[in-house]
Every structure is written in structure tokens, then in C-alpha cells.
């Protein structure tokens, strides 16, 4: 039996980090939105590590914030430890990372959605996308609801045909104890989507009171807790400690002796896992000479006993997990509360997406998050906000909002996914960005707030205030004279810092503002060089290729490039050139053909 429900402008499937940003974007841009999730209790869950941010990822969070997203404010209000990473490795690549109180984070996420005016939440499982001709027009749910909308955003995370593995045990779940979303993957396969399998894993959670803290190294947070959001004021939150311990030969021996019981090595898991975040069995097998591996013991929240064993993800049987975990100093009597497990799930090939994250297969369907073969909360949220904004722009009948590689890490992320695809769960790294000195975490607001169709007045004002403050700081610096130089020139010297100049008039400005001025000066030469490179880069980005361009009509393209162009349908000449295996001469032929079009010949 099927029932029709009231129609919406937008339907967002999935209440994870991508879904949260997507539904907030469409509703905040004025469209009546429905979020459908399998569990209202699981909105914004941190399924794996209890932390937000990190290198490159921290930049993503601040970019999401600058665009008008929610992730930064969620973590600002729920963090239980804050650190700036890699300060001394180069100010330009330092990043924020915060431990989160998982339970508060998820609760705050749900409450934020509940408070949003144009947004309704509904608990059910989507089993199919309703399509009319080549466009998505709604969803069909497990309980038989047919709900119609003008646009649909799909964010299924690890739930689409998700299957978890713990040694010989397997179950159809997206997370331990939560049922997988069955049916949708097959329904999409039938519609012609390219569906693949990927794998990821998570470590065990152990009981805090069963650990011997005298044997663990303590890892403190920074005293100065900084907000991720450009709108949050000072953060006053409890700062909890994390701990460090190490595996040893005994641990490795147990793992080696039981390696055949791992579904990863037994061939049961076919999905590709991430190389940057291997399971402990992978580390032991691939790096046999390493005597020990570092393990971080992190609290999952303020009031909870659950502690997360970062670095120890595994799919070995529970009894083996018990055995090897207890070989770690401080964990001799550890009690496991949740076991480590691997999860394998369906993902959709991101090459089937336009850079707006709209599907090339079904119009008005936007896809974001882990469904596109990425990993990480931040990567998911970044796609979520872009998919949400673009779904809303579609409803407004406007051109899509696409960030360039020179604008943001988000631009790099989506360009990589939609131009090159991915073979393993895609994680953001600073080395993926060509212009990382410019894509800093401190200037995300000046880079992105002016571009975003989602931001409100409040955020624009905040940016203006900051920019005028920075201008004032520079003026004050100019007035400062020492050794025949003014403050600006002094700051260009490597050993001089804005603090060391001790200018009393600067005290009223925030350290963030002062540091940004300082960085801009210290890196001036490099920044100018990158800006020149960007100017060159943007030229070829600006040569658009019409969506219906007929590659078959172009003489002289190599067969391989022609096929790739037809499959990926790049938006501009720059993107065409980044497709792997495409040759310089093919790009030239393409440019000439495009010029021919423009000339009306």
C-alpha cells in the first residue's frame, strides 16, 4: 500500500553531517524541506573518532562556516579539548582540531534542525527515488510513503547496503546496532547508477574506570580554546585530557597469529579501505619492522565512561580484540564496551556528478557525503552544504555555485571527486591543494563569505568588521618605527612577531586578527607568487564548455580523450585538462573547436 504525503520543495535523505548541512542550506534559503532519516536519535552522530577538524579538515570546517554552515558552531558548543596542530611546522598549514562530546554534539545537531523554521524531520527509510523521465521527483519509503519534491539530496553515508564485520560475525548494519538501508542501492543500480563498495573501520571503546592511567602518557589541550566559527565568541568549555599508549611485540604477535580470522584478509570484504587510516592488522602486516604503534585514548564525552582507542581499528574477532587490547600498557584490565568493527557499504561513482553535485543520471538529484566515496565528517559536511546550496539555487532557477580549486579546499575536494573520481575513501589532505598558502584556515571568511548565496547579513557584517580591524592593525604597525623600519617591514623579518613588537594600541584586537595580518606579511612573497599562478589557472577555468557540446563533431581528438570528455563532460577547459590521461594537444584541439563555436563559424 502506498500513501502520498504533503509535497516539499526539497527532500534530504540522511541525517548525518552531509544531510545536516544540506537540509539547513535549503531551508535557510527559504525552501520547505523534509529531512528523512532512519533514526531521529542518530542525527549528527560521530560514528568514529570523537573529534572534529585536523589538518586540512579543520580548514574545511572553517570554510563550511564561512559559507553559512553549521558544523563549526556545533563543535564550538560541544568541544571538550582544543588544539592548534602543526603550529611550528608552518603557520600557513596549521589547523584546528577539537575533541567533541559525542552525545552533546549529536543532541545539539538535532535540536538545531528542530528549531529551523522551514524544516521538518521524519523517521523512515527511503527505498527508492521516484523518477519521472530523467528527473527525480520524490522518494518512496519502506513504510510505503510516496513523498514528492522538486529536488532531492541523497546522503546515505555507510548505510546503503551497509554490512559490518567482526571476525566471523557479519550483519547488515550501517553502524553497530543500526540497521542498514536495504533496497535503495539496488534500486539505483537499476536506474543506471554506478554503484561500488568501499570499506572503513572503527576501533573499540573501552571503559574508562578499567584503565590504569598511571601507565598512560597525558596529552593536554591548548589553554586558549578558539572557536571554529567566525561568528562564535570566546569558547569556554571544559578541557579534558587525552592519553597515549603503545602496542608492542606481544600485541603484534597475537594479531599475526589470528590474521586469517580477519575478514579483510580472508577475502570476505571486497570494498577498498583507506590507506591513510589502516586497521591495526594492516599496520602490523604492512610494516612488520615497526616495534610499536602509537595509540591515542580519547574520551567520548564529559560524563561517559566510553574511551575511544584511536589507532586500533580492527575487524578481528572480539575474543582476539580482548586479548590484544590487554597487551597495551595501561589497558591490562580494559573492559570493552563496544568492539571494533569494519563496515562495507555501497557508494556511487562521483564521476556521475556535475561539480554542482547534481547527478548526471537523474536531474534534480544531488548527492553528497560518504555516498560519493569520501570519508570523514568534515568532507561529508562540505559536500552537504554545497549540495544544499545548489539544490536551492536550482529551485530559484539560478546557475550552480561551484568553488574553484583556488577558492577553497571544498573546491579541491569536489573538483577531484567529479573530475578524477576516487578508488579509496577520499580524505582531504593539504597536499591535494595547489594553493595551500592561500587556502588557510584564518582567512576562510574573506575567501568565501562574499561568494556564498547562503550567508545572512550578520555574517557579512562580521567579516567587514574583521577586515576593517585588520586594516587598522596595519595602520598602527606602519606608525611603529624601529631600526629605521616601520612595523610592516619589521614583521616581514623571520624572527619578529607581532607580539614581540609589543604595541599597546594593538591590545584591543583579537589574536586571530593580529596573527592573520602577521601571516599575510610574512608570506607576502609566496602569496604573490601563488596569486600569479592562480590568475593563470583561472584563465583556463573561465573558458566554459557548453553542457551539450558535441565531442563527436570535433576532428582530431584522440579516442581516449573523446571518451573521457563524453563521460565526465567537464564544465570548462581547466577541468578538462585535469582529467587523467588527457593530452595537452587534445586540450588545444578542444580550445580551437570552442573558439570556432564562439565565432559562429
Amino acid at each position: 500500500m502506498e500513501m502520498d504525503m504533503y509535497d516539499y520543495d526539497a527532500i534530504v535523505i540522511g541525517g548525518g553531517h552531509a544531510g545536516i548541512e544540506a537540509c539547513l542550506a535549503t531551508s535557510r534559503m527559504g525552501f520547505k524541506t523534509l529531512l528523512i532519516t532512519q533514526s531521529l536519535d542518530a542525527i549528527g552522530r560521530l560514528s568514529c573518532n570523537p573529534a572534529i577538524g585536523g589538518l586540512a579538515k579543520g580548514n574545511l570546517v572553517r570554510e563550511i562556516d564561512a559559507l553559512g554552515g553549521e558544523m563549526a558552531r556545533l563543535i564550538d558548543n560541544t568541544m571538550i579539548q582544543f588544539r592548534i596542530l602543526n603550529r611550528r611546522r608552518g603557520p600557513a598549514v596549521q589547523a584546528y582540531r577539537a575533541q567533541a562530546d559525542k552525545f552533546s554534539y549529536s543532541r545539539l545537531a538535532k535540536e538545531t534542525l528542530e528549531r529551523e523554521g522551514n524544516l521538518e524531520l521524519f523517521m523512515d527509510t527511503v527505498v527508492d527515488i521516484i523518477a519521472e523521465e530523467d528527473r527525480a521527483v520524490g522518494v518512496l519509503t519502506e513504510r510505503g510513503w510516496k513523498i514528492y519534491s522538486k529536488v532531492v539530496v541523497l546522503t546515505t553515508g555507510t548505510f546503503m547496503s551497509g554490512k559490518i564485520f567482526i571476525g566471523e560475525y557479519e550483519h547488515q548494519s550501517g553502524r553497530l546496532g543500526e540497521e542498514a538501508a536495504l533496497g535503495l542501492g539496488d534500486a539505483l543500480r537499476e536506474k543506471g547508477f554506478h554503484v561500488g563498495r568501499m570499506k572503513t573501520g572503527t576501533p573499540a571503546r573501552v571503559k574508562k574506570s578499567s584503565l590504569d592511567f598511571s601507565k598512560l602518557e597525558i596529552q593536554h589541550g591548548d589553554e586558549d580554546m578558539r572557536p571554529f566559527s567566525f561568528l562564535s565568541g570566546k569558547v569556554t568549555r571544559p578541557s579534558l585530557e587525552c592519553y597515549i599508549t603503545y602496542t608492542n611485540e606481544k600485541t603484534h604477535e597475537i594479531i599475526r597469529n589470528n590474521i586469517h580470522r580477519s575478514p579483510l584478509y580472508g577475502g570476505k570484504i571486497v570494498g577498498k579501505g583507506p590507506r591513510y587510516c589502516p586497521s591495526i592488522e594492516d599496520k602490523v602486516v604492512r610494516f612488520p619492522d615497526r616495534e610499536r604503534h602509537q595509540i591515542f585514548v580519547e574520551p567520548e564525552g564529559v560524563g561517559t565512561e566510553e574511551m575511544y582507542l584511536n589507532g586500533l581499528s580492527s575487524s578481528l574477532p572480539e575474543s582476539v580484540q580482548h586479548e590484544f587490547i590487554r597487551t597495551l600498557p595501561g589497558l591490562e584490565s580494559a573492559v570493552i564496551m563496544r568492539p571494533a568493527y569494519a563496515v562495507e557499504y555501497d557508494y556511487l561513482d562521483p564521476l556521475d556528478l556535475y561539480p554542482s553535485l547534481e547527478s548526471k543520471i537523474l536531474k534534480n538529484l544531488f548527492i553528497a557525503g560518504q555516498t560519493n566515496g569520501t570519508s570523514g565528517y568534515e568532507e561529508a559536511a562540505a559536500q552537504g552544504i554545497m549540495a544544499g546550496i545548489n539544490a536551492a539555487l536550482r529551485l530559484e532557477g539560478k546557475e550552480p555555485f561551484v568553488l574553484k580549486r583556488s577558492d577553497a579546499y571544498i573546491g579541491v575536494l569536489i573538483d577531484d571527486l567529479t573530475t578524477k573520481g576516487t578508488k579509496e575513501p577520499y580524505r582531504m589532505f593539504t597536499s591535494r591543494a595547489e594553493y595551500r598558502l592561500i587556502l588557510r584556515n584564518d582567512n576562510a571568511d574573506s575567501r568565501l563569505t562574499p561568494l556564498s548565496p547562503l550567508v545572512k547579513e550578520e555574517r557579512r557584517m562580521a567579516l567587514e568588521r574583521k577586515l576593517s580591524d585588520m586594516e587598522e592593525i596595519r595602520e598602527l604597525l606602519k606608525e611603529r618605527k624601529e631600526r629605521g623600519k616601520n612595523g610592516l617591514d619589521l614583521l616581514r623579518e623571520p624572527d619578529v612577531t607581532i607580539e614581540s613588537l609589543s604595541i599597546p594600541a594593538l591590545e584591543r584586537f583579537s589574536s586571530e586578527e593580529k596573527e592573520e595580518v602577521e601571516l599575510d606579511l610574512k608570506y607576502e612573497g609566496y602569496l604573490k607568487r601563488q596569486e600569479r599562478e592562480i590568475a593563470r589557472f583561472e584563465k583556463s577555468e573561465s573558458v566554459a564548455i557548453p553542457e551539450d557540446f558535441d565531442y563527436d563533431s570535433v576532428d582530431g581528438l584522440s579516442q581516449e580523450s573523446r571518451e573521457k570528455f563524453k563521460a565526465i563532460r567537464p564544465r570548462n577547459v581547466g577541468q578538462a585538462g585535469r582529467i587523467s590521461g588527457v593530452r595537452v594537444s587534445d586540450i588545444a584541439v578542444l580550445q580551437v573547436a570552442l573558439r570556432g563555436l564562439k565565432g559562429g563559424k
Binding site: 603557520p91 596529552q219 591513510y276 578524477k420 589532505f429 597536499s431 584563465k539 593530452r583 594537444s585 584541439v589
Partner: protein
């Protein structure tokens, strides 16, 4: 990835890279005339020249010495083939001179044009009134040339190995920097230490390669190849077959007797001076003796002696690095074991040319210059060297800036090793470092 664009000043040889009476090098792009005037004997006049006029003088090298007497055809913006500011340099068609002037143009800021790039620019400036298809065709026909150029496998064994080692070392160093930037200090505990010894090693290898390029007589002056063998063994028919394949210039040496014939030609991109000697026959007359003596001298100085025989000789010389034996008749018994050709059909000539090029290049080790491309490659090597020594002098800069140095060092070698993608760095990083909380 290299791209076709219209911003930079470019140059290219417009005539074939073969010895000839005259050659034309074309330069194009905004500022070309001013830049060129810096190395022109009459710079003032060039700057004042009107469009579509000629200007006579000399191209000078970095020290102000004359390289060649030339005539410049000057085109101001809106004129000429590309419709950009451009100059056509008409010069003497000697390969060493062409190489020298090309090198000089790169020194002052011209980039060697990509295949078809002039046509591309002409089209983009709306200059070409051709149909679109014609312009495309020109770029496409240049493709085969591009496919053959710049690849590592074209380099000789030693050089290719040395470059591959440098590439791997640089990728390792860059990975060790990237891992510091992509993972936090609590995961990668060790601070990055400048790999001074390794960089020193890379620099010294670069120096060796650059040095041998500079010294390379093969490239600068062409290789000397002497044809030897008994009279009527087939030398002349080989020589003539070669001339048919290669547009070569033949000059008969004057003297009391016809000692040898010299021809300048290009074998697989390598400039070669080919000598057909008088033949090693028993000398009876005094005058013949003198000729044979000269032939012997020539053979002593040669980079390679190609001994031609019809198979009837009793004492065919043993092959070594300076001696190659070829047969002037096809014979089933020798098939696949020896180099042979048919003077009637020309069959086998191409294989012999390959063998000659390999012999010359392989023997010289690093002296693997086999085309004008190498000038660009050499510049890449020099640039890489200077970036590395610069980084060595500033070892205390932060890791994010150090990474930029090594990225540029790798990029400077891209004409030799191709583009290195960030995925390649990440692949290397994951294979070398055990990562992941």
C-alpha cells in the same frame, strides 16, 4: 600540465631541423621585439623598425659575442602569422648555430613553443581565416612529434637511470615534508631534518649531467661517423641510401685526390657528420697512400666507424664501442644476427640508423643529447640544481615553505620526468609511512 596559452613569449624553428643553407626561427608574443633587441647587435634599430620590414645584424650571446649574421623580419601586433608581435629570424642553417640561438632565446625568456602552438595562437587571435578543420589538423599533425618527444625512455641508459634516481629521491624528500604537513605533530613525532647529504648527492649528479651536456661534442658539433670498408664493398650505396632518407649536404673535399666525401645529416635527431672514405685497399701509388693515411686519421678521430662489407672479406673487424659492422647484402643466414641492408630496396637502413644512434648515444653515457629538446631539459636540470642549492642555504625555513621548494624542484624536471601528481606523492607517502590514528 603544460598548456597552450597566449601570454608567454614563444619561439620555434620554422624550418626543418636539418642542415641547410638558411633556417628560420620564429618568435612571437607581447614584448618579443624588446626582448630580442637585448641580444641583437643593432637593438636600437630593431626597436624602431616598422611592421613588415627587415632588419639586418647579428645575434649575440650572453657575453656579447656574435653567434650568427641574421636578417629579422619584424611584425608588430596585428600583423604576421600569429597576429601577435613577432619576429622571424633568418639565419644560417647550421645545426650548432640553431642550437646556440635557441639556447640564447630561452636564456632571455622565450619558451619553446608546443607543437602547433603558433597555429593555435593565430586561430585564437582570429587571424587565421582558415576553416576550423584546417587549424585543428595542423595541431593534430604535430601530435606525432609531441608523442615522440621528451620522454624518459628516449634518453640513454645511464642518463635515464640517473634521472630516475633523482626523481625518486626528490619524491621521497617531498613525501617526508608532506607527511609533516598532513599529519599532526603527535602522530609524526620527529621533526623534519634537512637531508643535506642526499641533496648534496642529487646536486652533484645534476652537475655531472649538466657538465656532460655542456661538453658534449656530439650535440654541439655533431658526431663524426666514418664509413670504412674495402672498395666496392657497398659503402657508396649505403651512403647514397642514407642520403635518400635524410636530406643531407654533400661536399666533396678538394685535394690532389678524392680522399673522402663528407655529408652533414641528422640521424634520429642527432647531428652527424658522415665521411665516406676512399677505401682501404692496398696502396700502390704514392698519392693513394696519402689518401689512405688521411682516411686512417679520420677513423682514429671518429666517434664511430661503420665498417661496410658484402661478406666476402677475410678479416672483418671485431665490433666494439667504436666499431660497427654492417652487411651490404641481405642474407637469410645472417637474418636477425647482424645488421644488413639492401641497396636496391633500402630495406634495413632504418634499423641501421637506430643502431648508429644507439651506439653513439649509449657509448657516451650521459652525453645523451639526441634532440634540440635537450636544451630545454638541460635548463630544467639547471633550474632544479639552483632551487636545491637555494633550499640548502635556507634550511631553517618552516616545513610548508620547504615543501614549496621541493615541489618546484620536481616541477623543473617535468620535461624529463613528466608531471608528478599529488596522488603520486600521496601513494609514496602511504607506502613509506605507517600512518593513521
Amino acid at each position: 600540465m603544460a598548456t597552450y596559452e597566449t601570454e608567454e613569449k614563444i619561439y620555434a624553428l620554422a624550418t626543418p631541423y636539418y642542415p641547410s643553407a638558411l633556417a628560420i626561427i620564429r618568435v612571437s608574443g607581447e614584448g618579443s621585439i624588446e626582448t630580442l633587441s637585448k641580444v641583437f647587435s643593432n637593438g636600437e634599430r630593431l626597436l624602431k623598425s616598422k611592421s613588415n620590414t627587415l632588419c639586418h645584424g647579428y645575434v649575440l650571446d650572453g657575453d656579447g659575442n656574435k653567434i650568427d649574421e641574421v636578417v629579422l623580419a619584424v611584425y608588430k601586433k596585428g600583423h604576421g602569422y600569429t597576429s601577435e608581435e613577432a619576429v622571424e629570424i633568418t639565419m644560417h642553417g647550421s645545426l650548432p648555430l640553431i642550437n646556440k640561438i635557441s639556447l640564447n632565446l630561452e636564456r632571455i625568456g622565450f619558451r619553446k613553443a608546443l607543437p602547433g602552438e603558433f597555429t593555435y595562437r593565430a586561430f585564437m587571435h582570429g587571424r587565421l581565416d582558415l576553416t576550423e578543420a584546417e587549424a585543428v589538423e595542423e595541431i593534430v599533425s604535430a601530435k606525432s612529434e609531441e608523442a615522440a618527444s621528451g620522454a624518459l625512455e628516449r634518453l640513454s641508459g645511464n642518463l635515464s637511470t640517473a634521472i630516475t634516481v633523482i626523481k625518486e629521491k626528490l619524491i621521497d624528500i617531498l613525501s617526508s615534508l608532506e607527511v609533516q604537513l598532513d599529519y599532526a605533530e603527535d602522530e609524526i613525532l620527529e621533526d623534519w631534518v634537512y637531508p643535506e647529504e642526499e641533496v648534496r648527492e642529487i646536486i652533484s649528479t645534476l652537475d655531472r649531467i649538466i657538465g656532460s651536456y655542456d661538453a658534449s661534442r656530439l650535440y654541439a658539433k655533431g658526431a663524426k661517423v666514418v664509413l670504412a670498408g674495402k672498395t666496392n664493398a657497398g659503402k657508396s650505396s649505403f651512403f647514397n641510401a642514407l642520403l635518400k632518407e635524410n636530406r643531407a649536404i654533400v661536399s666533396e673535399k678538394e685535394g690532389t685526390t678524392r680522399d673522402y666525401i663528407e655529408a652533414e645529416c641528422v640521424i634520429k635527431g642527432l647531428p652527424v657528420r658522415l665521411f665516406d672514405t676512399a677505401g682501404l685497399r692496398d696502396a700502390s701509388e704514392e698519392i693513394e697512400k696519402e689518401g689512405i693515411e688521411r682516411s686512417r686519421n679520420l677513423m682514429r678521430e671518429a666517434d664511430l666507424v661503420v665498417y661496410v662489407t658484402d661478406g666476402s672479406d677475410d678479416n672483418i673487424p671485431l665490433q666494439d664501442e667504436r666499431m660497427m659492422v654492417i652487411y651490404s647484402k641481405l642474407d637469410e643466414k645472417r637474418k636477425g644476427e647482424a645488421l644488413e641492408f639492401s641497396s636496391v630496396t633500402g630495406e634495413g637502413i632504418s634499423d641501421i640508423l637506430d643502431a648508429i644512434a644507439n651506439h653513439l648515444v649509449g657509448k657516451k653515457g650521459f652525453d645523451g643529447d639526441i634532440s634540440i629538446e635537450s636544451e630545454r631539459q638541460k635548463d630544467g636540470l639547471s633550474e632544479c640544481r639552483s632551487i636545491l642549492s637555494e633550499s640548502m642555504a635556507h634550511q631553517d625555513v618552516s616545513v610548508d615553505l620547504m615543501a614549496i621548494s621541493f615541489q618546484s624542484a620536481i616541477r623543473s624536471l617535468n620535461s624529463l620526468i613528466g608531471d608528478v601528481s599529488s596522488d603520486e606523492i600521496l601513494d609514496n607517502l602511504f607506502s613509506k609511512f605507517c600512518l593513521g590514528k
